[in-house]
C-alpha cells in the first residue's frame, strides 16, 4: 500500500503544480444556468444541482490540478441531500484520479475519534464485515483535544494508506486568539507546540519521498509564521488555505514550501469556483472563467516559487 504523502506528491509532480481546488457548495452563489434558485422548473433537487455543478468544475480542473478539497460544512448545511451530494462528488473526483481531501476539522476522544477516522479514512465494522464509508484520501482534523485524540487518526492512516492535515495555524484573523498565545513552558506560541506534535505523530509514516502522511494546515495569510512552521515540521506536507478570496498571495504561500519547491499544497475555493459576477452568466463563459482562474493560480504560484529559488 502506497504511503499517502508519496501518492499526493506524485500527483503534484504529474500535474506540475501544487494547486488544490476547493469545492464549497453554496446554491446562492451558483450561476443561474444550474438553476439553483427558487422554483426549480427543471425539477433538479439541491443534491442534483450540487453534484452537477461539481461535475462541471471537475471536468474543467481535473486535467490541471492534483487534488480537490471538499468543505463538508457546506454539504452538511443541506442535510441528507447535501451529504448525498458529498458522496457523489467524492465518486466523481475519484473517477478523475484526483486526490480527495475532505476539510472536516473533526475530532473527538478515544473510540469517538476512531469512529470519525473510520468514517472518512478507514472501514466501519458491520458484524465481521469491514466496509469503507466516505473513504477519501485525507481529512483535516483539530488538535484542541490533545495527542490521544489525534493518535486514532494516525493509526487508521497507517493501516489504510491515508493522510490527515492537523490544524496548526489557521488563515483567519482569530487564529491569533489561541494559536498565537505564548506558552510559559516553551516561550513559543501554542501553534508551535502543535507543530511539534504533528512532527512527532508523523515520524513513523514517512514515505519514500521524505514526507509523512501526517501533515499540517498552515494558512497562507501569515507568512512569517509559515516560514518557521516549515522548519519545525520538515517532513510534514503543509495544506495552505487562505489563498485568493481570503487575501493570501502566491508570495505568502511560497513560504510554506521547502527549498526544492516541494512539501506544500495550496487551496483556493471561491476565487476558482465562483469567479463570475453576474448570476446570468452562460455555461461556456463560466467554464472559461473557471479555467482561467485555475491557470492564473497555477502560474502565480509557479512564478512565486521560482522567485524564491524554490523550484
Amino acid at each position: 500500500m502506497q504511503n499517502f504523502a508519496d501518492r499526493l506528491l506524485e500527483a503534484v509532480i504529474a500535474k506540475g503544480n501544487p494547486v488544490v481546488v476547493g469545492l464549497d457548495p453554496r446554491l446562492e452563489m451558483m450561476p443561474d444556468f444550474l438553476n439553483p434558485r427558487g422554483a426549480n422548473p427543471n425539477g433538479k433537487t439541491a443534491a442534483e444541482m450540487i453534484t452537477s455543478f461539481h461535475e462541471l468544475i471537475l471536468d474543467i480542473v481535473s486535467p490541471l490540478v492534483p487534488a480537490v478539497k471538499l468543505q463538508i460544512a457546506f454539504y452538511e448545511q443541506y442535510g441528507l441531500p447535501g451529504l448525498q451530494a458529498l458522496h457523489e462528488t467524492i465518486g466523481l473526483a475519484r473517477d478523475r484520479k484526483l486526490v480527495v481531501i475532505v476539510d472536516a476539522k473533526r475530532n473527538d476522544i478515544a473510540t469517538t475519534a476512531t469512529a470519525y477516522a473510520n468514517a472518512f479514512l478507514g472501514r466501519t465494522a458491520y458484524g465481521t464485515e469491514l466496509r469503507p464509508v466516505f473513504d477519501v484520501d485525507c481529512i483535516t482534523i483539530s488538535p484542541y483535544l490533545g495527542r490521544d485524540s489525534l493518535q486514532p487518526f494516525v493509526d487508521v492512516c497507517s493501516k489504510y494508506g491515508k493522510g490527515v492535515f492537523i490544524l496548526v495555524k489557521t488563515s483567519n484573523p482569530g487564529s491569533r486568539d489561541l494559536q498565537d498565545e505564548t506558552l510559559h513552558s516553551t516561550g513559543a506560541p501554542l501553534h508551535e507546540l502543535v507543530a511539534e506534535m504533528v512532527a512527532a505523530l508523523g515520524k513513523d509514516l514517512i514515505g519514500e519521498r521524505g514526507y509523512s502522511a501526517i501533515g499540517a494546515v498552515v494558512g497562507a495569510t501569515f507568512s512569517e509564521q509559515a516560514s518557521r512552521l516549515r522548519r519545525l515540521m520538515p517532513q510534514s506536507i503543509l495544506l495552505v488555505p487562505g489563498y485568493g478570496a481570503q487575501g493570501g498571495t502566491a508570495t505568502d504561500a511560497a513560504h510554506c514550501f521547502d527549498a526544492s519547491g516541494v512539501g506544500a499544497i495550496v487551496s483556493a475555493s471561491r476565487s476558482i469556483t465562483y469567479p463570475h459576477r453576474e448570476p446570468s452568466i452562460g455555461e461556456d463563459e463560466f467554464s472559461k472563467l473557471v479555467l482561467g482562474q485555475t491557470q492564473t493560480m497555477i502560474q502565480g504560484l509557479s512564478a512565486a516559487l521560482q522567485r524564491n529559488g524554490r523550484h
Copy 2:
C-alpha cells in the same frame, strides 16, 4: 422565542435531575435481539437498527431525564444510512419533548462556521426560502480557531433561540497537552482563556434564570479545574461528559454545579445504553438494566449534590 438556557434549565427542573443520556450508535455493542450482526435475517438495515435501538432507549429514559446527547461521529461512521438514523433519532427525541444536543465538536472559519451553525441550529437558504436542516437545540463546538470562528454560532443561537457548548476542558487524559498549558500572558492555563471567551461570548444571551445560551464542556474527570471553571463562567451552563465509563464520579461532577445545585448537566453514554455483558440478553432484561442505570445515575448525582450542600 425562549432563551435556550431557560428551556434547558426548565427541563431539568421538570424532570428533577440534570442527567443527559448519550446516544452512541455502535452496532457491535447492541444486544442480539436487535440483530445488528451478520446476516440480518429480519432484513433490517443499519439505519433501521440504530433507529429502533434508540427508540427503545428513548421510551425508557424520556420520562426520567431532560435531555439526550447524540454523538454524531458514531452516526457518521455508518455513512448516509447512519446520518438518516441521526435525523430519525432527532425526530424521536423531539417527539418525546427531550432537549436534543448533538455532540459535533464542529468548527471552521467565517462563512464556513455559519454553514455548520445553520446545519444544526439555524436555517439554510434555498433561494429566498429558509429551511431548517438537522435543527436541534444545541451542539458542541471547538475553540481552536479563535473567537471569530465562534461568533457565527453565537449569532445563530441568538436568532433562533438555540445554544452551544464550547469545548473548554475535555475529559480525556490528553486534554492536558494543549488545554492545560500555562500562558505567558496570564499565568493561567489555556483552558481558562477559553473560559473567559465563553463568558464574554455569552453575555448578551442570558436568560431569565441567569444563565446564558453559550455554555461550556468541562469534563467530570478533572474536579479541581472544574471548580475553578465554574467560578470563571458563572453564567454558563456546563455540559459535563466523562461520567461513568470514563471514570468521572458523581462527586467529581458535583463541582460543576453552582451553590444552588444548578448550572450543569451531566452526560453518560455507554454506562446507560450498553449496560449488558451478554449479547444474548433479552429485551425485557435489557430494558430493566437501562432503566436501573439511569435511576442509579440520577440518585448518585442527587446524593452528591446534597452532600456538597448544592441542592
